[in-house]
């Protein structure tokens, strides 16, 4: 099959109504460039709408971060894109093939590491990779060579032990190796580092970067970790309540907030403090979270003093004032009204 070009409207869409805010204007428009495409993708479970209407287009060779809290619809989206779950509506194509009509063509092109390491504890790592390779038509020689090539990712010496004896990190990395066994063009990683220790997380990150850089692999990565999306993704889609609410490169998304963020912890009425700060010149926005104000401004260094003075003049003591660069969490807060972290 061939894909229809991604509508320019997808690329150029600005925030209007319930549609996603697309900050980045560069979205692929030719078939060959699109590795993963979803148009009005929906999935319901009974009365529950897990995915309401997702439009996205991931360029070939791109790392796309799908960021959202638990229950936002990330995993459901991935399961539909991986052919594990039929959409209730809309359509999706992966590697140029429809995920409903051309299931086998999609499956030959994708590697998948789902949220829980999909392993068999009674097999050894080598046996598991062997089963995986044979199911993808690989010969014994190809399987052996491929396993040896995973030396940077997994502890090859440990592969002759049963998987049940592996650490959490090793299990995760073996799961990733199994997803890579048949050299897929497009890799789906569903929260690949959840529950991992920092060292294992860094090894997975390095491998993701290496595969993307050296093999040109397209990587669709879901995560609930802001720093993971920030560190790995070329573009980020923020999903909340089954919809993409913002999309763009991490820098572009952060620029939306303003250049700087002043965090003020206030002793007194935070709402009153917000009113005081909003009246100051050069303040882009103020958000209240408990006793904390997040103040977006173009020039934080210039504004922080004025904020402190204004609060003091209003009889509201700021116990703490911090100036920092915006994070994806600030973006998440802006588009969803809640913090992710």
């Amino acid at each position: 099959m061939t894909l229809s070009p991604v509508p320019r409207a997808t690329a150029d869409r600005v925030r209007s109504g319930d549609g996603p805010l697309v900050v980045c204007g560069v979205v692929p428009t030719t078939d060959g460039d699109v590795a993963v495409l979803a148009e009005d993708l929906r999935r319901s479970f009974g009365a529950v709408e897990a995915v309401r209407s997702v439009d996205l287009a991931v360029r070939a060779g791109e790392i796309y971060g799908f960021l959202g809290p638990n229950g936002a619809g990330k995993s459901t989206c991935v399961r539909m894109l991986c052919t594990l779950l039929a959409p209730s509506g809309g359509r999706a194509a992966v590697g140029g093939f429809d995920v409903v009509r051309d299931v086998e063509a999609v499956r030959l092109r994708i590697g998948v590491a789902l949220q829980d390491a999909a392993l068999d504890a009674k097999l050894t790592g080598r046996e598991l990779l062997g089963v995986q390779g044979r199911l993808y038509g690989m010969s014994r020689k190809q399987i052996a060579a491929r396993i040896e090539s995973f030396g940077d990712l997994v502890d090859v010496a440990a592969l002759d032990r049963r998987i049940g004896t592996y650490s959490g990190g090793m299990r995760r990395r073996l799961d990733l190796a199994a997803a890579l066994m048949h050299d897929p063009r497009i890799l789906f990683l569903d929260e690949p580092t959840t529950g991992l220790d920092p060292v294992s997380r860094m090894r997975v990150w390095e491998e993701v970067r290496r595969m993307n850089r050296e093999d040109g692999m397209t990587i669709f990565l879901t995560t609930q970790y802001l720093e993971e999306a920030d560190a790995l993704a070329d573009r980020v889609g923020i999903i909340d309540g089954g919809r993409i609410v913002a999309e763009g490169t991490p820098d572009e998304l952060k620029r939306r907030i303003g250049v700087d963020v002043i965090v003020a912890r206030v002793e007194g009425d935070p709402a009153a403090a917000a009113t005081v700060v909003e009246s100051l010149d050069g303040i882009a926005s103020v958000a209240v979270h408990g006793d904390e104000l997040d103040i977006a401004t173009a020039d934080g260094a210039a504004a922080v003093g004025r904020v402190a003075v204004a609060l003091a003049a209003a009889g509201l003591h700021a116990s703490q004032l911090t100036l920092r660069r915006p994070t994806l969490d600030d973006v998440f807060l802006e588009v969803t009204g809640e913090r992710l972290s």
Partner: protein, 267 residues
């Protein structure tokens, strides 16, 4: 051409290769899980000993020339092979996500079940061997000769395979280990409302009526014919039909449950 749109290096291995890979994995796991097979070896020995010990004299006195041990050997084999399956392991695969990994692979869906069932067939045929050895040691001979022994093992194996569809259907429908374990209850009406303890002529009332419709009655008749009377085409034909009928129902249920799970994408 971009990397994403380039032809894949992977390919479908083909149905037979898929089947061989999945059956090989199931057999390997079965060998690592032998403790799960022990009850299937103890139960038939126990029932054989109790049934023969308590009823042999009574039946052999009432019907001189009747060999009650030969009569009980097929029962012991049915107890050994009925309900033995990898369904619990399938539930573990579902719960741990490994079933998803297999599902995403470019394989024929039916091989997900058939691979397990091949391992089941190997196991149930292997389970008939110690029971038969026990019978030989107890002095039971085969009127149908060595080929009859082979036919006995194959028929018992086919019955075991036919029955596995039920626990697989439950495993796929529920994804619950408890539900799979409770599927053992299906074994009782099949195994006891039949000619387990006495010939059909001795069964009266409701038990006789139920036994007439129980396929195991005809399976036992076929197996007993191989032991006691030689090659009886009519008895073997009825036994084969009984196995086919149960197999058709159970396999339909299992494959419908597989389709349902794959369509719904449930975990």
């Amino acid at each position: 051409m971009t990397a994403a749109s380039a032809p894949p290096t992977a390919r479908s291995a083909g149905f037979l290769a898929d089947l061989s890979t999945l059956a090989g994995r199931a057999i390997r796991l079965m060998l690592r899980d032998l403790e799960g097979v022990i009850p299937a070896m103890i139960v038939p020995v126990f029932f054989f000993a109790v049934n023969v010990g308590s009823l042999q004299d009574q039946f052999e006195r009432a019907a001189p020339g009747f060999d009650y041990k030969a009569f009980q050997i097929p029962v012991a084999v049915i107890f050994a092979v009925t309900g033995v399956s990898r369904a619990s392991n399938l539930v573990i695969d579902i719960q741990q996500g490994y079933f998803d990994r297999l599902t995403i692979a470019p394989i024929r869906r039916v091989s997900l079940l058939l691979g397990l069932m091949i391992a089941d067939l190997v196991l149930v045929m292997a389970l008939t061997v110690p029971v038969l050895l026990m019978g030989f040691i107890a002095g039971v001979g085969f009127a149908s000769g060595p080929l009859g022994v082979l036919a006995f093992i194959v028929l018992a194996g086919c019955w075991g395979l036919a029955f596995t569809g039920f626990p697989y259907a439950i495993a796929l429908r529920t994804g619950s280990p408890a539900a799979v374990n409770s599927s053992f209850i299906l074994f009782f009406p099949f195994a006891f409302l039949t000619t387990t303890f006495a010939p059909k002529e001795a069964l009266t009332g409701w038990l006789g009526a139920v036994a007439t419709y129980n396929p195991v009655t005809y399976l036992l008749e076929g197996l007993r014919s191989l032991v006691s009377s030689g090659w009886d085409a009519a008895a073997l034909g009825r036994a084969a039909l009984a196995v086919l009928a149960v197999g058709a129902v159970s396999q339909l249920l299992a494959h419908a449950a597989l389709r349902g799970r794959l369509t719904s994408g449930r975990r």
